[in-house]
Amino acid sequence: MIELYHIWKKYQGNDWALSDVSFFINPGEFTFITGPSGSGKSTLLKILYRELLPTEGQLVIDQRNILKIPDNKLYELRRSMGIVFQDFRLLFHKSVFENVAVALRILGMTGKDIRTRVFNALRMVSLQKKMWELPSRLSYGEQQRVAIARAIVNNPKIILADEPTGNLDIKLAFEIMSLFQEINEKGTTVIICTHDRELIRYFGHSILFLFKGRVLRKEQL
């Protein structure tokens, strides 16, 4: 359960990026956060994975006050999440396998366990045959699927995605969204920031509308 209570966020200057944002997301829910550019979508997502701290407000995930976690313990929160970005954020000098495996190496896993889980994650995103390729030899759609594989390989409870289809054409965007849907059907909470109305209309689910840092409404489709 993700609970936000009266989140305010101000950067330098007088403008509020987020103003009194409160909402809940139930476990296993698939939620789109949408709004025009500058509405605070990315800021909200960054607060969810503690890249940023809000100026005011409370954030509780599974009854744990996330804002009180000390910096040197943030890794515990991050391990329960998988995060996907518009620019993929892959290690281009390492193979597809190593890019996905890094999420398991930091857990102290080795050898056979890593190979099995990485293979399964890549199979889910249909990239098992390209395990040893470098990301630079993959298409944009394939690179994003590697990023998704990395996000899901350690079975996180929550997937956060910030404009994951921003660099992709419509066909690829639909493929990626289908993947997220598949992941969600297995019980993972999925939260996606996007301004793509086509995708939202097609895939439905729960939608949170932001405008100038405020929650306009939350809809359930």
Binding site: Y49, L74, Y75, L77, R78, R79, R89, L91, I106
Partner: protein, 271 residues
């Protein structure tokens, strides 16, 4: 390179210090005092002097060295100079009384008083007491070490900052990778370890190179001096560092590397 130079500098001064100590010990013993007897001293005068020394209870050992024994000792210690003696018609070495101060009486007022009394005593032509010379050598040794540690200390600071900056550049180059590691939940230590190990390796490598270069110098310098240094060759045998000194240099290098990289990560990455 700077780390290598740092420990090479320290190593050179330590080796110099080792050599000064060895030279001091090999030339003289600060507990021994030699009373050279006049050529005209009678047996009774010599016996009286010896008794006076024994009665003072300042010496653990007193030995009479006659002229022939003195000549033989010189020939043994400086074989290259034997040819010089052959040109002399007579034995130039006087008899002497070699006395070893006991530990309790070394550097006491009673010892100094006796030495001063003996300088003007009938039957004694000269006194050789190397303690002053040894004190000067020890002072020189302390000076060498102080200069070495001062220069080494400055270079250690320089090494620390250089390693710190090298690590900072590496961190910058791997900024994206570090960001990804943080996002997937790597602990601070997981991120730190490769950089810290790199720093330790750089420091250790610098230390190893410095020890090797110093060994090279120690091994090659006598060759540079030549095969017949004569008396000097008897006195000067270039001594390398002891095992504990080598270990200290290597551990110090590793430590500087560790501290430099750790400090850089703490400030730059805030981890």
């Amino acid at each position: 390179m700077i780390i290598c130079l740092t420990f090479l500098t320290l190593g050179i001064f330590l080796a110099l210090s080792n050599n000064i100590k060895f030279l001091t010990r090999s030339v003289s013993d600060d507990q021994v005092i030699v009373f050279f007897l006049s050529e005209t001293s009678s047996m009774e005068t010599v016996a009286a002097i010896q008794k006076e020394m024994e009665d003072s209870r300042l010496f653990s050992r007193i030995r009479l060295v006659n002229r022939e024994e003195a000549l033989a000792a010189f020939k043994t210690k400086f074989p290259d100079l034997e040819s010089v003696l052959q040109n002399l018609n007579r034995n130039p070495f006087p008899s002497s009384l070699e006395a070893t101060f006991s530990r309790d009486s070394l550097n006491t007022a009673a010892g100094r008083d006796l030495v001063e009394r003996m300088r003007t005593r009938e039957g004694i032509s000269d006194i050789q007491y190397n303690r002053e010379w040894i004190e000067r050598m020890r002072t020189f040794d302390r000076l060498i070490r102080a200069v070495g540690f001062f220069l080494g200390g400055i270079l250690i600071f320089a090494s620390f900052f250089i390693i710190s900056n090298v690590i900072k550049l590496n961190v910058l180059a791997r900024k994206n990778e570090i960001a990804i590691l943080r996002l997937v939940g790597a602990t601070n230590w997981f991120i730190r370890i490769p950089f810290v190990m790199e720093g330790v390796f750089l420091g250790l490598l610098g230390g190893v190179l410095a020890v090797f270069l110093l060994w090279l110098v120690t091994a090659l310098f006598p060759l540079y001096l030549g095969s017949s240094p004569g008396v000097i060759g008897e006195l000067i045998q270039f001594r390398f560092l002891s095992v504990s000194q080598i270990l200290a240099l290597l551990v110090s290098g590793s430590l500087i590397g560790f501290l430099g990289s750790f400090s850089s990560l703490s400030k730059f990455l805030k981890i």
